[in-house]
Symmetry: C2
Subunit: 86 residues, 2 copies
């Protein structure tokens, strides 16, 4: 049994309204920041999985991402392996 | 002037309460998922910056992250360069 650390990045699909992204863009003028565009705001979920090997651990994360973390109608997700920090 | 695409990962600092992470952990039994622990839920902000070079673009993102996207008292952030997809 080994421990693997993953991150799941959940982002609004292209074409889906992203009010948080619009809110960030609306604050840029206020801060005097120029040249920033196409802001999309999503979630990042970091987690540790105890499993026999990395393939088994990734399968658990895949299931978790598709069934709980992301709404497949409006969100896309990407799974990445990260440093074991926690 | 070139375009650079970045992602800013904002996560709760170690030791800071993370109710969303606890909520995910509380749903695991329900889904019959075992071996998942240390769940932390943060935000992922993807954005495009138009600037003269990557250093100048990264400086803009650094300012945006520290002044708007993350609350430095309770959140840490990491900036990564991503594929220009939007």
């Amino acid at each position: 049994m080994s421990s693997f650390r993953f991150a799941v990045n959940v982002t609004p699909k292209p074409g889906i309204l992203d009010p948080q992204g619009r809110a960030v863009e609306g604050s840029l003028d206020h801060l005097g920041i120029e040249g920033v565009r196409s802001v999309r705001v999503g979630r990042r979920v970091e987690l540790t999985v105890d499993a026999g090997d990395e393939g088994a651990a990734r399968a658990v994360v895949e299931r978790l991402a598709s069934e709980l973390l992301a709404n497949p109608l409006i969100e896309a997700y990407a799974i990445e392996t990260t440093e074991p920090v926690a």
